[in-house]
Amino acid sequence: MSTGTLLEVEDLSVRLRTARGIRLAVDHVSFSIGQGEILGIAGESGSGKTITALSLLGLLPGGSRTTGRVVLDGRDLLTLHRRELRSVRGRQVSMVLQDPMTSLHPLLRIEVQMTEHVRTHLAMSKDQARERALEMLAAVRIPDPEQALASHPHQFSGGMRQRIAIAMALACEPRLIIADEPTTALDVTVQAGILSLLDQLRRERGVSVMIITHDLGVLSSISDRLCVMYGGRIVEHGVTREVLGSPRHPYTNGLMQALPGASGTGVPMRPIGGSPPSLDDMPSGCSFHPRCDYAQVSCSSKVPPLRPIGGGRLLACDPDPLAPDRSEPSSSGAATSVPVPDPLAEQVP
């Protein structure tokens, strides 16, 4: 799997300017991505996951402030000048945006869009860049790459466009691809193809991938490790199989149960009550407490720290009601909540 760390994010915080003032959108987030690793970042919209991704490359709108460290190959990206940062974007780290219907330029031929950054970053001639583009289109299994280069985006289906967007992200052979909801806008049948493509690229090219999604189902099949974000903080972190096998944070658990046919235990799909908080109206203490079935009085006053719970897992929940050695509190009214049984859960101390 991973052979050494590629990207190390430490204490990343992002302050955004909203209509009501400065708001902390990402709150002291730390994680790392190994080479050839797929890291999943999960959370509902508004949890800060896309802001996190954009802040890594300095792509946030004006008026926002990013602090902490984002170390790629020993260099802190947050300290780079604009010009240096541009040489990282698309070259070392590239990004695939959510909706392939809107992320490709409608008026430019694919060839222009596939080669412009290659020529900028790698100082290639037009012909060399074109060769590279053909190679990448073949790598993402676009039939007839030659024809594709001469076409405009509207001539492709959504799935094909996302493949092209991935090929574009690959073109400069980056070390890391950030994929922001890469399958959300696509049909279910097409989603699997895109995911297996990312997995294949990771295996064949050793590229690391950071997948941002609200859909735990997407991550369960391919990501190695997983961060669950809520209200701008990481609330649970660990190996994907383990986290999804026995979620410890009530929010993770809620996300699992919101999946259709999640656990196969016959428990009906159950969405989390309420809606994620807005930046202007962030609850005190654990920001999930107003929606949490297990909330206690202390949850509304004290921010739970992200602490190790063994097995490399991290959890930010002080009551920790889903710990395997604890029976459910009967007063919580969460009788329908059945933790997903998983053989792996027993191995976690």
Partner: protein
């Protein structure tokens, strides 16, 4: 401020996604019009002109048509804007001009708004042949560029202020018709109407309660923006001799006198400034109002 009330700006009904939060932070600079310096300036200028129009007889040193000074006197203490070719005090005439231009502009816009909205709403509501006929006529008017059609109408009816006003209305109503039509079309299919229908509201109630504000808001913004155009068009016709006739103190006609005596710069300068301030003031307000409409509707307003 019905427009301001229907804003999607800070509704906390649903928590925004990341994208919306970003968009929102982009729009942080948006303030209500009464807190924007340009709109505020515009409002004050118009207020000042309204006061002038009402109290012109008290404010003006001379009656507009009295000719007891020497012709073409440059501005002095006695005649701050100078005198025209007939020895009339230009300052007084500019003040009196407000009594003509402002009410006429309001009348023009009100009538165009009424006719245009009615026809446009009918086109949008009934569709079919009604729609086709009304909108083809509107297209036709658009194909005749503004002042030339007004010129043709005014010339055909005869050079009179009344006919110039008619000409401007003929030219102005189609933009309201187009906007009203697209608003009605959009609103008819929109979700809030569908849901109102689902909850069993009667068609008439839907039209009055739900459609009214959403259609009226943009139309009123267009009307504000259009006051300036109406003033320009009407004074243009008067400048060409097809509107207000001598000796009426009308700003466009006064600029025309300035063109005939161009070496006496004051004859044309001051009435033109009067037109400019009124038009600019309305455009300041209209521009601020347009910004608070949602972008899609604002785009329909064009310009």
């Amino acid at each position: 401020m019905t427009v301001a009330d229907s804003l999607p700006l800070d509704s906390d009904a649903a928590p925004p996604g990341v994208e919306e939060q970003l968009d929102r932070s982009d729009r942080a600079a948006l303030r209500p019009p009464w807190r924007q310096p340009l709109a505020l300036t515009g409002g004050l200028v118009i207020l000042a002109w309204i006061v002038i129009a009402i109290f012109a007889p008290l404010l003006a040193p001379d009656p507009p048509n009295s000719q007891f000074a020497a012709p073409l006197l440059a501005p002095t203490h006695q005649f701050v804007f100078g005198t025209d070719q007939l020895g009339r005090d230009i300052f007084s005439r500019v003040l009196y001009g407000a009594r003509l231009s402002l009410p006429l502009a309001a009348l023009l816009v009100a009538v165009s708004l009424a006719i245009g909205s009615l026809l446009g709403a009918m086109a949008g509501f009934f569709g079919g042949i009604v729609d086709s006929v009304i909108m083809r006529i509107a297209d036709l008017v658009f194909a005749f560029p503004g002042i030339i059609l007004a010129l043709a109408v005014a010339a055909a009816l005869g050079p009179q202020l009344r006919n110039a006003v008619l000409a401007v209305i003929v030219v102005s109503w189609p933009s309201y018709a187009r906007l009203a039509r697209s608003l009605v079309l959009g609103a008819r299919t929109s979700e809030y109407v569908t849901s109102a229908r689902l909850f069993g509201s009667s068609g008439w109630r839907v039209l009055r309660v739900e459609l009214g504000p959403n259609v009226a808001g943009p139309l009123l913004v267009l009307a504000t923006l259009d006051v300036g155009n109406a003033v320009l068009l009407l004074s243009g016709l008067s400048f060409l001799g097809l509107g207000a006739q001598p000796p009426t103190a009308e700003w466009g006609a006064m600029v025309s006198a300035g063109a005939q005596n161009f070496n006496s710069w004051w004859v044309g300068l001051f009435p033109g400034l009067a037109i400019l301030t009124v038009v600019l003031a309305f455009n300041f307000i209209g521009d601020a109002l347009r910004d608070i409409l949602d972008p899609r509707t604002a785009r329909m307003l064009g310009k």
